[in-house]
């Protein structure tokens, strides 16, 4: 019972990026992947959801390997991503965006709807319901993107740079929302972030990615206080 990336290799046509990457995310766990620009963080999540082809290795969830499935089938299995830059459908309303998220839920829908809890905690999304998504501010868009992903009833949720381009205050909101999502959905969350300090503070465990390889892994709090991580990613000399 976990999301498993086993010895994954992937990248672009002439540029292999990930090599031998292995990691796992348990249900209900928040796992951070930190690393500098170009380390392969986005490549990693894109490979897991099938936007980039896996060249070697395997990907599996609770139901076994999904490495050969197309992107939309992985979403239907509950492997859901919030892409970098949020990628809301710009000319659909907030409500329509979230309705599309529900398309992926399928049989997993039912029971208490976690979307309601999110909308209660962050009423701004409900206030914007009928507005076209591209008219929202960056922070609001990220709220909607996260709500849309929760509407898909994720078993494993991958977040690619959710704080990108947001003010420190909005970033705080986003991290609060992520915490709430973990609590309400019980999904295993893989958080890819350049804001290493905040990501490590929020996470249970973490991996450090460098040049497409995992160079460190372990308890997030321990990594956060380790000298190497502090020097390389937290701007402490």
């Amino acid at each position: 019972m976990s999301l498993v990336v086993d010895n994954a290799e992937s990248g672009y046509d002439r540029a292999p990026i990930l090599s031998g990457v292995s990691l796992r995310v348990e249900p209900g766990e928040l796992v951070a992947v930190v690393g500098s620009n170009g380390a392969g963080k986005t490549t990693l999540v894109k490979t897991i959801v099938g936007q980039l082809a896996l060249r070697a290795g395997d990907l599996a969830d609770d139901d076994g390997s999904f490495a050969k499935l197309s992107s939309h089938r992985r979403a239907k299995r509950g492997v859901v991503m919030v892409p970098e830059g949020r990628k809301l459908f710009p000319r659909l309303t907030v409500g329509e965006n979230i309705a599309l998220g529900r398309r992926a839920a399928g049989k997993r829908a039912g029971g208490e709807d976690p979307v309601d809890a999110l909308l209660d905690a962050f009423p701004i999304v409900r206030e914007r319901w009928g507005q076209q998504a591209n008219l929202l501010s960056g922070g609001e868009q990220q709220m909607v993107a996260l709500t849309r992903a929760v509407a898909a009833r994720p078993r494993y949720l991958l977040l690619d740079e959710p704080s990108l381009g947001l003010s420190p205050l909005k970033t705080l909101d986003v991290f609060r929302l992520i915490e709430l999502i973990r609590e309400r959905t019980g999904a295993g969350i893989l958080l890819v972030e350049q804001m290493a300090d905040q990501a490590l503070a929020a996470a249970d465990r973490a991996y450090v990615l460098e040049h497409g390889r995992i160079v460190m892994e372990g308890d997030a709090a321990k990594l956060r206080s380790s000298d190497e991580v502090r020097r390389a990613y937290l701007g402490v000399s």
Partner: protein, 289 residues
């Protein structure tokens, strides 16, 4: 006045075919240049079952629709989709659909022969008088159908969950697949409906001019022109484009002779392309840098 009425009615036929260009363009960013042959395919399919007396006329029309629709979906899967995989600048589908056009034209000619065949399916004879112009009922049905189908498509895309999936794929296919929506399935469905419409137009058109392998080819230029004038990204576009193109080309040919008819229509295309390249009702494409 007569020219205006006839132009509007003629524009309806173009609009119906333009709608099939718009439909595939919205969801897949491709155009099927073999649309003309799908018109002929629909017409001949209806002729093939015309002797089945147990099948009522709507059923025969449906055969024309379905034959073109099924072949259309297959063409998408095997001859369009594989040639769009290299990103948004991959336009190999241009060549493959033109090739489909040649192949289908030759296949249909080999099977059916080049000369026009009479088609009685869904023929409505007689004319009605509209503002002093005698308009064939058959043409009127075609024009009415273009309007009804356009409105239907607009309602479906705006109000239903299938339409929501179409709009999502149209705006961002990669993200749509993150929502469990298959852009390929939506594309295949669009080709199914779009080519089915071409087949339907073929059945009704053949009842007036007869079915021949080249019957659709003569409509192709006008319907592409209509689609471009209205805007390839808008389901309202074909109605406006069809009306403008039809009226302009008819009026021009009444005033200055037939040769100016099509010329005037194509001049309209050039004017629109210069003034508003996305078409009158189109939306400017956002270019990602």
């Amino acid at each position: 006045m007569e020219a205006v009425v006839i132009g509007l009615v003629l524009g309806g036929l173009y609009a119906l075919l333009a709608q099939s260009f718009v439909l595939t363009f919205i969801t897949t960013r491709t155009l099927n240049f073999a649309v003309g042959e799908f018109v002929a395919l629909g017409a001949f399919a209806a002729i093939a079952v015309s002797s089945w007396s147990w099948l009522p006329t709507p059923g025969k029309v449906a055969v024309g629709f379905l034959a073109a629709a099924v072949v259309g979906a297959l063409v998408y899967r095997f001859l369009v989709l594989p040639f769009t995989t290299q990103g948004e600048h991959d336009v190999r589908w241009l060549l493959s659909t033109v090739a489909v056009s040649f192949v289908m034209l030759n296949l249909i000619t080999n099977v059916e022969g080049p000369s026009p065949q009479r088609s009685d399916t869904a023929r409505i004879s007689g004319t009605v008088d509209i503002l002093g112009a005698g308009v064939g009922k058959q043409q009127l049905v075609l024009a009415g159908l273009a309007v009804v189908i356009s409105l239907l498509l607009i309602v479906v895309t705006q109000r239903t969950s299938v339409g929501l999936m179409m709009r999502a794929v149209s705006q961002d296919p990669d993200t749509a697949s993150l929502m469990g929506v298959s852009p390929r399935a939506v594309g295949a469905a669009s080709y199914f409906v779009a080519m089915g419409l071409a087949g339907l137009a073929g059945v009704l058109y053949a009842a007036t001019v007869g079915a021949s392998p080249v019957m659709g080819e003569t409509l192709l230029v006008a319907s592409i022109a209509v689609a471009i004038v209205g805007g390839l990204g808008s389901l309202w576009g074909p109605l406006l484009g069809g009306a403008l193109y039809g009226v302009l080309s008819q009026v021009a040919s009444y005033q200055w002779g037939a040769i100016w008819g099509e010329t005037a229509g194509l001049l309209l295309v050039i004017v629109v392309l210069v003034a508003k390249p996305e078409g009158l009702l189109g939306r400017r494409m956002e270019v990602k840098l």
